[in-house]
């Protein structure tokens, strides 16, 4: 394995850890707001790391550009959808979780 492969593997592994943490949060957190928090934060960083890891190994800048575009779209969509879900849940009168 070349050094770039090692860097890519490290970044991909870290991205995987973030996805795992986000999924764990989705399954284990107590209410919808905290679950949204876990999902959006962790998936955004996780996907970013995976895009970085794949970019290191990419053949051309066009491929890197496409993957960065996908990441930007996921960031935008994730943030907007999280806000929309939280808003509609709040309107339905579901309280925030308190210890």
């Amino acid at each position: 394995m070349t050094p770039t492969d090692w860097i890519a593997a490290l970044l991909l592994g870290m991205g995987g850890v973030f996805f795992l943490a986000g999924t764990l949060g989705l399954l284990r957190f107590p209410d919808v707001y905290t679950r949204l928090h876990a999902l959006t934060k962790a998936d955004n960083v996780g996907l970013g790391l995976i895009v970085l890891g794949l970019s290191v190994q990419a053949d051309s800048w066009v491929v890197v550009g496409k993957m960065l575009l996908i990441w930007a779209l996921v960031l935008l969509a994730g943030a907007s959808v999280a806000q929309l879900i939280a808003r509609s849940v709040l309107r339905r009168g579901i309280r925030l979780w308190r210890q």
Binding site: L73, L76, A77, S80, Q83, L84, R87
Partner: protein
């Protein structure tokens, strides 16, 4: 190799589990969300089978547009108090039927076993039509074999498919009456998102259309992206000020099948056979058909999501 097989097994089991949840969740909303997840997992399965064209179509249409249609219909069903499942208030006949459910497993398991046996007992290698496709690819005008099959070798299928799509919209228009008005409280975030995403989606759709002649992509994928942009705009409360009788709307809706039929007539004149393009013109003809089809598909899918005839400006008759 082991890792890949493990992934395939996990994906296969995941597909079956998510399908079961989509079919049997007690809450219909939950069932639909599982169905959308099912569509996305199907897209992954298509990628695993080296079919990226189908993966794109499945993610955009199978998961995206179908999911939006289902959720839209559910909202309207809940408005007329028919959105909940009837399981809880089953009558006597229903209950007797539920009791016979256990017996239903027997014929279904037998059928599944029979189908599985049929799949396993087929001869291992069949050449199929890939050799013919590869041999004629040079004369088709495009270099993506799937686009060649869709727009050239099996052009009839695609022409009739565009007509089916149009018929679905016409059927909806004749039954549903005017479209429901936009919900008054569209979120500001959704509005901003739609303003930002629509131009970007148009760009990506044009790219998919253009790249479809030599790589995965094409009219259906690009058209469903346009349809998705339309769904987003409709959700944000935006309505085009055209009535269903407007000439401009009808022209775009029928552009796909219309141009296709015109090309068929042209090829009938040129080569004496419908949809048999002269190889020199094949590439440009396919591109023309695809552009028209993309616009029609996008507008038709958005129209299907609208859930009724567009109202447009009221004019005195």
């Amino acid at each position: 190799m082991l890792l890949q097989s493990g992934f395939d097994v996990a994906l296969g089991l995941g597909l079956l589990w998510v399908a079961w949840q989509a079919l049997n969740s007690s809450d219909l909303f939950k069932a639909i969300v599982f169905f959308i997840a099912f569509g996305l997992l199907m897209a992954l399965a298509w990628v695993r089978m080296d079919a990226p064209d189908i993966a794109l179509a499945e993610a955009a249409i199978g998961a995206g547009v179908t999911g939006a249609l289902l959720l839209g219909a559910l909202a309207r069903l809940r408005a007329s108090n028919a959105g909940e499942t009837t399981m809880g208030q089953a009558g006597n006949g229903q209950r007797r039927f539920m009791a016979s459910r256990r017996l239903l497993w027997i014929p279904l398991l037998l059928m599944a076993a029979g189908l599985g046996y049929a799949v396993l007992s087929l001869p291992g290698y069949t050449p199929g039509l890939s050799a013919q496709v590869a041999a004629n690819l040079g004369a088709s005008g495009v270099s993506n074999p799937v686009t060649a099959v869709l727009l050239n070798f099996r052009g009839y299928d695609t022409l009739l498919e565009l007509v089916v799509l149009l018929l679905a919209l016409l059927g909806m228009w004749s039954m549903a009456g005017p479209a429901p008005p936009p919900s008054a409280e569209a979120a500001a975030v959704l509005d901003g998102l739609s303003r930002f995403l629509t131009p970007l989606v148009l760009l990506v759709a044009a790219y998919l259309l253009w790249v479809g002649t030599r790589a995965p992509g094409g009219a259906f994928q690009a058209g469903s992206l346009l349809g998705a942009a339309g769904v987003l705009l409709i959700l944000a409360g935006w309505r085009a000020n055209v009535a269903s009788t407007a000439l401009s709307l009808r022209l775009v809706l029928t552009a796909g099948p219309g141009v296709f039929v015109a090309v068929a007539a042209f090829s009938l004149l040129m080569s004496g056979q419908m949809l048999k393009y002269p190889p020199a013109y094949a590439g440009i003809l396919i591109l023309i058909i695809e552009i028209a089809a993309t616009l029609s598909i996008g507008l038709t899918l958005a129209g299907l999501f609208l859930g009724g005839r567009p109202r447009g400006e009221r004019k005195s008759p």
